[in-house]
Symmetry: C2
Subunit: 345 residues, 2 copies
């Protein structure tokens, strides 16, 4: 589950509300352009605004999943998209800050089908660029004078804390003894779900929503994150690299906590044990990865993962239903949730 | 001017107000301990609370210069030290976040006389640990419900933006065409002075200080940063490594913008030209560094730097005088400023 984002391909844009791309992206671009020139250039490159020479580029900026969720949730609590324009831009920047550093940490050379920022500008400047995106994101919410400013700032800071905790827990598991399924859930709730929760809850904080609404939206984000990440883990092993935009089986190769593998290891029996021996060995050839993938499937890991992802999506929609948003927004979010989880569909 | 901090040695603690070490440091420690376990361990190591095995350590935590400035300034605007305890802890964390990443970027293997965090835990986890300190710092100010919460949060976010801009500008200069004296000033105002300004101005924001007070404190911080950095650059070239705790002439070796060098290059004449040839060459042996140091001195770079540092310290004190703080606090800050700039005294 190495992917923190739903935007790794950049190949098939999520048909988010037209308002999102046309309102949030220019604001993201404007903020990034105002950074110190070198940082502006690196961040603009990472976001697909310019190529490695600083010339305008038609590259993908990602699907703006989090901004789309926030904008739809805003409509659901009676706000206009522009009421959450700043936090939506800030959340995309925060998400991208984690991607810039994550690519350095994972030595991932590709991001959205182009060389990762650290490959183009070197890891030193890329560390600063990731820091700058993180700082910029928090500066935007801190300086946003709209209602709920303090609560939204707190929600962003807490979401960032959780993402970093999850990334560290994941890296620790990868370098060390691995993770069990309970630890996996915790990692995903932190690393993947926290920003999705933040996207859904921010409009309610701005609108002064009741605690049960906030709780329902948080629950929706948590289960959405789990559904997405498990689905992403399945895609890592059996997806088409031409569609995912990533090298196949990167998680298995790195022994990154991956739900289908953990479910297969948990199943017990001889197939499970054979997998365990390979997983704890150091084989990373295509043949090794294929054998592990076959064993995961044979031990039922793929089926369990697919079921579990669907189950979490159902739970996410159930929580969403309890939030009492407008029917139009609920329908829009339902469609968005489905696209996020089943992006290969 | 590679050093972002006034705490590189850890050998001679700045005799800050006793309240600072006894009130701020435990809060720093408490916040860091609450991080995800791996991040907590790395950050606790960096801050000198534990050794590389996680066992209690008597290592230096730095001089808490920024917390000391903030605490003294608080007294000066009629606040108690505990009124700025949270932002003082947050500012130390913010400063340390920049040190953790800076050591990776500069490949500095020593920090406060011990192996840098990235040498002990690897650069990947150290990137996350730096991120975590940055996030924690902003979370503390955002969640601090004392007066001036929004203004203080903004000041912190802006200070961080400036530090990162300065670091990027410095790294860009080092990797590229170098910097002139105007660019040097800009880098130092961002990289070094921004956090000192933040330290001085935060109590006034909490106390609802008038704009002319804020302006005077900002000016004091700006000149203090310039005085300190120029003095630090002199120390890099002619200081005693046993006192500075750093390898001698690291800035010259890296061709990092350094005031005495820039002043000597600016002086013109044959000595200056000989220096220019060496500075733009790639010689980094001890003999090369010694020759450059001698040429800088011969061209008057050292004398100019020492004069300029004293001039900025005088300006800092002049601005401080205009802030209208209590006489006791002004005296305390005057002594602190002097210790910060003339730490070899």
């Amino acid at each position: 589950m190495s992917t923190l984002d739903t935007s790794s391909t950049g190949l098939r844009a999520l048909p988010s509300p037209g308002t999102v791309r046309s309102t949030v992206l220019p604001l993201v671009r404007q903020h990034v352009s105002a950074l110190e020139p070198t940082l502006a250039r690196i961040c603009s490159y990472h976001l697909g605004f310019v190529d490695e020479h600083g010339d305008p580029s038609g590259a993908a900026s990602g699907k703006l999943t989090r901004a789309a969720l926030m904008t739809a949730a805003a409509e659901g609590v009676g706000l206009r998209p522009e009421d959450v324009r700043s936090p939506a831009a800030a959340l995309e920047l925060l998400h991208n800050s984690t991607l810039v550093h994550d690519d350095i940490i994972d030595a991932d050379e590709l991001r959205r089908g182009r060389p990762a920022a650290w490959k183009v500008f070197g890891p030193d400047l890329a560390i600063l660029a990731g820091d700058a995106l993180q700082a910029l994101s928090l500066q935007i919410v801190v300086d946003d004078t709209g209602p709920g400013r303090a609560e939204i700032s707190s929600a962003f800071a807490e979401a960032l804390r959780l993402v970093l905790a999850g990334q560290s827990r994941e890296l620790t598991a990868r370098l060390g003894p691995g993770a069990d399924i309970a630890e996996y859930h915790r990692i995903v709730e932190e690393k993947t779900a926290a920003l999705l929760e933040c996207a859904l809850v921010t409009p309610a904080l701005r609108a002064g929503g009741a605690e049960h609404v906030l709780g329902a939206l948080r629950g929706a984000g948590r289960h959405l994150g789990l559904a997405f990440q498990i689905s992403n883990d399945v895609e890592d092993i059996w997806g088409d690299p031409a569609v995912t935009g990533k090298p196949v089986r990167g998680d298995v190769q790195r022994r990154n906590p991956s739900f289908p593998v953990l479910a297969a290891l948990d199943a017990g029996g001889p197939v499970s044990e054979r997998l365990r021996a390979l997983w704890h060995g150091d084989g990373t050839t295509a043949a090794h990865l294929q054998e592990m993938a076959d064993l995961v499937e044979e031990a039922g890991g793929r089926r369990t993962a697919e079921q579990r992802s669907r189950g979490h999506l159902d739970s996410a929609l159930e929580h969403l239903g309890r939030a009492g948003l407008t029917p139009a927004a609920t329908a829009e979010l339902t469609a968005l949730f489905d696209r996020i989880v089943n992006r290969t569909a």
